[in-house]
Amino acid sequence: MANQAGTRMAAQERLSQVTDHLKASEADIPTGREALLEKHPDDIVVTCALRTPITKGGKGSFKDTPAADLLHGAFVNLVSRSGIDPALVEDIAVGSVLPPGGGATEFRAAALAAGFPVTTAVKSLNRQCSSGLQACVDVANMIRVGMIEVGIGAGVESMSSQYGPGAVTEFSPLLESVPESANCKVPMGVLSEKMAKSKNIPRTKQDAFAASSFQKAEAAQKAGLFDEEIAPLTVKWTDPKTDEEKTITVSKDDGVRQAMTAESLAKIRPAFAKDGSIHAGNASQISDGAAAVLLMKRSTALRLSQPILGKLVTASVVGVPPLLMGVGPAAAIPPCLKRAGISVADVDIWEINEAFASQCLYCVEELGIPIEKVNPKGGAIAFGHPLGCTGARQVSTLLYELRRRKERVGVTSMCVGTGMGMAAVWVAE
């Protein structure tokens, strides 16, 4: 059996070699979207992607569940859904923003508890809100250069237990003395408020965008469109009214408020300035959640008979001024599309993280993206933004929706605190 698979592989590689010889004229070499849709043995493919439900920070269903337990839940489900032999997974990268020490110790422990052998390496990384995507990209790059064959990119955040002023250390006088570096600690709400003003994005537009995010998420939830990507978790939960500890099974995002409209959002008081436009209803929610993505080369997936969800084409990360943190996607998406050889019109679905309605709207308008292609199942405004988890969460949200609509090309992107943007191009199969 193994020998037969090897034979098939060799034959496939020889065939693709001869095919390459025949691509003699420029006309024969597909470019743009067509080239992107081709399948090659060295593609980095996703064979399983899932997430836990995302729940409200401080009062949601995961308020008493530590980050490592959420991660453990994602791992266990990833292994059981994909059927991958845990011993084949050589490295796991976990993006997480808030845990002390980066979470390195408890994430390694979570992997061991989830049944990975001691030979499976684990690292934690932190590129703020893009940590989950960075984890996937890091693992994909390691696979691409041949350092590992099979890896997991993951992200997790328990904002219930770890969000707060302790997440940033005091700036030294040196950092305070350089204006641009001192800007790195300006709270995001404050700088987004300024940005909304300077980029001229009125509150009405933001509220309309936020309301549509809630409405899309509500509709998607009712239609069961999240069911494929969500892995339900059973956790302990203390009822705040009775202090009674219960065991509950969580299978739905609990932040999606029903029947939201731009009018109902218009009543909420601004959070960061009296005359401001940003409030709790048009910014991302504080949440808990975890997500994981299983990555390998197409050739490996065929050898292991893993089903292929899609592939990671390329990614980019670009810095922007810290005070304009929100423009990150507008800066990161163009080079990413260029590297993939496609244009804005070639993309079927955009998953652009809704840190704030203002910055997401700005990026969408700046790049000329049709708004109906952005976050078709809603975004962080409706169901939350567990910081480190989001980048990995978008992968399953995107790939399952592309598959359902029989569309192919998607982009995930987000702005990153301290002034960065990250983006990645994916192709569903």
């Binding site: 060799a10 034959a11 020889r14 001869v18 390459d20 010889h21 025949l22 691509k23 003699a24 004229s25």
Partner: protein, 354 residues
Amino acid sequence: MLEFRTQGFNGYSVKYSPFFDSRIAVAASANFGLRNGMRSSQTTSPRLHPINLFFRFDTQDSLYDLAWSEAHESQVLCASGDGSIKLFDLSLSDFPIASWQEHAREVFSVHWNLLTKTTFLSSSWDGTIKIWDPSSSSSLTTLPTHSCTYSASFSPHNPSVLSAVSSDSHLRVFDLRTPASASNHLTLSIPIHTPPKPRMGVPAPVGIPPAEALTHDWNKYRDSVLAVGGVDRAIRTFDLRSPGAGPVAVLPGHEYAVRRLAWSPHLSDVLLSASYDMTCRVWTDGSAVGVKGGGEEVADPMAFGGGREMGRMGRHTEFVTGVDWCLFGAEGWCASCGWDERVLVWDVRAVMGG
């Protein structure tokens, strides 16, 4: 034109014996060399009418190239898809008399040293060239190219010099007389896709993207001249005396990748090519006195150096993968093989000037 059918086997390489004008060997593979199965190396005797199968060997994996031994008239070396190199003897049994297994991937070319006659080389998809002594069970030297090397060959003028072309669009020349060092005897590495130097009155050539090089051959008379062909369809000649000058001649014309090149053993400017476009073409590289061509014709903007196509043979009905000149007798006889399961023996003069 004489024809022999390699029933069930798609040809990959054809070579005339350096000892007998009546012997041709063919390396062929079942299923287009894409999947395992029975493969064969065949020796035919074309002088008799029709061509007779003289000897046949079957192997377990595809064969991509072969070379007659320069030291022993009945020995043939084969490059195998399983990474091995096998030596067959026509006077002995069905089994190879020697087999060398060091390459990690498909072996794409083998070539015997024409001058010392005691060594041969092989090149492989694994990104290495290996030099062997048939009496030794392991290779003498390994030269890395770091990319799939479709073609490697010893210089016919100097026993220590060898060349190779690879999928990275580079022509490499190695000189084994150089001391062992980190350069691994590499003396020249020429980017094949370099456009020719700009000429007076002609706009500077635009950049040409790199393309996989599939074949090359040393000129038999001019010891510094090589011809290279590959995926970008053009044949180029290079002069190793001025490696930075770009190609001496560029010969466009093939509609698909060039799979095999062979300089004439009789004329210093004549070149034969075999291509995926199902034709074999005869070319002059423009170096011979009085053969300047293309003056009045509408020149292809890619063409350079005064060379031109002199004729073509279009009788193959599938990719043509191998072509070789007969060393003996009247100049111009050659053999070609292809995926149409046929070996054709024909006279180049018959297709010229048409």
